[in-house]
């Protein structure tokens, strides 16, 4: 069976003047459809860099990223935008909601760049907002929400276009452990519905929920 997502000999360099930072060194991983994978490692080990490359937000310096058997290297900017919109749901470490914009508008944002007709937007967004339990805060602006609520908005937004893969970079990093657990429970539910989940975390207990852990160290995959 073809893996949904595959990294082959991925390297990422940052050239800063005379110094070269090697954030990822020859990383090769395969993620199967419906898997729940945790990426763990120390700060600076390259977890976010790998997430961005897997999420097609960034391009590797060397190596390839293959999505559903298709090499993403030859894709145009427009095709990449389309894939990010349809196939991937990204939950960022720092929420990244639109400022002074309502919960509803934030969740609808990916739909605005999709092929979903605008008459469907609200209905779809409401479904996902209900799923994360924020129906009562629909018309609150993002700056009127707590950290945990913001993260739930970010999750609803990642789900709204029904992507098959969800990438979450430290989604619980800013939250207390109880709220963090609830968020992770959300991911478990999604996984049981067949979604592929890739979760970055530095919390070992959370990582254990995942069926498989990928451990990064100084840019190498060690396990």
């Amino acid at each position: 069976m073809t893996p949904v997502l595959q990294a082959q000999n991925v390297c990422k360099y940052y050239d800063l003047g005379t110094q070269r930072i090697e954030a990822l060194k020859n990383v090769s991983i395969e993620i199967q459809k419906g898997e729940f994978v945790a990426i763990v490692g120390k700060s600076g080990s390259g977890k976010s860099t790998l997430m961005h490359i897997l999420g097609l937000l960034d391009t590797p310096s060397e190596g390839e990223v293959i999505l559903n058997g298709v090499n993403t290297k030859g894709m145009s900017e427009k095709e990449l935008a389309g894939v990010r919109n349809n196939e991937i749901g990204f939950v960022f470490q720092s929420f990244n909601l639109l400022q002074r914009t309502t919960v509803l508008d934030n969740v609808m944002l990916p739909l605005k760049y999709s092929s979903v007709p605008n008459t469907e937007w609200k209905k779809r967004a409401l479904e996902k907002i209900e799923l994360v339990g924020l129906s009562e805060r629909l018309n609150n602006k993002s700056n009127e929400l707590s950290g945990g609520q913001k993260q739930r908005v970010a999750i609803a937004r990642a789900l709204v276009n029904n992507p098959s893969i969800i990438l979450a970079d430290e989604p619980t990093g800013n939250l207390d452990s109880k709220t963090g657990e609830e968020i992770v429970k959300n991911f478990l539910d999604l996984n049981s519905q067949g979604k592929t989940i890739i979760l970055v975390t530095h919390d070992d207990d959370l990582a254990k929920i995942a069926k498989r852990q990928i451990v990064l160290k100084d840019g190498y995959v060690v396990k």
Binding site: L57, A81, Y113
Partner: protein, 394 residues
């Protein structure tokens, strides 16, 4: 699928987040469009004035002026050597009398007219009894002065409509006495309203005007040609006749039409020059938009990165910024247009300034153009932002 009302909505909400800044950015375009529109309207007002003048005087008027437009001569002669005199009227009547309805000298001076405690600044126009026909006046009440009034330097005046309104209101002024400087005159008649320039005048026999106010120059001579004669031909005959009195260098004879069309030409050039200056201010307004849009692109790096991460293409982002720039310039342009219109109302009492339809199109078209031209670079910059660079931005 990119849905236009949605882009407009998000452009509006982005602009409303910083209302003061949006307004200040607009100000450049507001001032630019306002100055273009106001200047065009004023020039148009002068053109209207000329057309009105032309229509009220008729097309069969000849003007004899102390030489103008004879090119290669000492310009000071135009002021120094005014050779026109009352005698010229007799000469004209003698040689072309059968082809004209009348001829009159015209002596004009600005004076304050007093009636009891009321005063009005008017133009006193001295001419002979024929000036009534030459100027095409008509009577509201009383009579115009006669040949014998001319001869005996009668101290009588015929009032323009506005002068009568200002000094007498609804009262009939015929038989009343008014004062100009220290001389007293009897009002013998009032003219019907005939446009601003005429309504502001007071007509008096030129003989009286010269003796009362010690004036011996004649500003110009007006000759009204009978409709059945060719005006150009009569013009040549008047010229030939006046050679008896003066040298060719001393005077020129032109049709009313010539004078007005040359003024019209000057106004045309003037309006182009003014529009160019105003256009520059619009350009400055456009640069202001570009400047602020570039700042906004930098400030919103994170937002751009987020949108791209969620599936926006470079074109989506570019269009969004473009619409913001166009919105600023079009709303600014419309406000400028509105202010321009208000300014025509403000000057309405002394100038019939109008905004021609092409100015409206030009102003709005130019605003859109400015928005597009100066919005493009910031929009391209915004579209080019890398999602990852944008997301790391803190």
């Amino acid at each position: 699928m990119i849905y236009i009302p949605e882009i407009v909505k998000s452009a509006l909400s982005a602009l409303s987040l910083n209302k003061v800044r949006t307004f200040l950015t607009m100000l450049g375009v507001i001032i630019g469009v306002f100055s273009v529109v106001a200047l065009v309207a004023v020039v148009q007002g002068f053109q209207n004035y000329i057309t009105d003048q032309f229509n009220s005087l008729g097309s069969n008027l000849l003007l004899v002026t102390p030489s103008i437009g004879n090119g290669n001569q000492d310009p000071s002669r135009a002021f120094m050597g005014n050779k026109l005199s009352v005698k010229n009227i007799d000469t004209i009547n003698l040689y072309v009398g059968d082809k004209i309805e009348g001829a009159t000298v015209s002596v004009r001076i600005a004076k304050t007219i007093k009636y009891k405690t009321k005063e009005y600044d008017s133009t006193v126009v001295g001419g002979n009894y024929m000036s009534y026909d030459v100027y095409g006046l008509s009577k509201y009440s009383g009579d115009y002065y006669t040949k014998s009034d001319d001869a005996r330097e009668a101290k009588v005046v015929f009032l323009g409509w506005k002068v009568k309104e200002e000094l007498f209101g609804d009262q009939d002024p015929v038989g009343q006495k008014i004062k100009i400087d220290n001389s007293t005159f009897e009002v013998i008649g009032v003219a019907d309203s005939k446009g601003q320039t005429f309504d502001d005048r007071v007509y008096i026999p030129d003989s009286t005007l010269r003796s009362e106010f010690n004036i011996d120059t004649v500003s110009s001579i007006a000759v009204k040609v009978k409709e059945s004669y060719d005006i150009e031909e009569v013009l040549r005959e008047v010229k030939t006749a006046l050679f008896k009195d003066m040298k060719a260098d001393d005077f020129s004879v032109v049709t009313q039409k010539d004078v007005l069309s040359s003024i019209d030409q000057i106004l045309g050039v003037l309006s182009i020059a003014l529009a160019a200056v105003a256009g520059i201010s619009l350009l400055v307004g456009g640069i202001g938009i570009m400047n602020i849009m570039l700042v906004s692109v930098t400030e919103r790096t994170q937002e751009i990165g987020l949108r791209k991460a969620l599936g926006a293409t470079s074109a989506n982002i570019g269009i969004q910024f473009m619409i913001e720039a166009i919105f600023i310039s079009v709303v600014g342009g419309s406000i400028g247009l509105g202010l321009g219109y208000l300014s025509t109302l403000a000057v309405r009492s002394f100038l019939r300034a109008t905004i021609p339809w092409w100015t409206v199109l030009l102003a709005l078209g130019f605003s859109i153009f400015v928005g597009i031209v100066f919005g493009t670079y910031p929009a391209v910059r915004a579209g080019k932002k890398d999602p990852i660079e944008a997301l790391r931005f803190e």
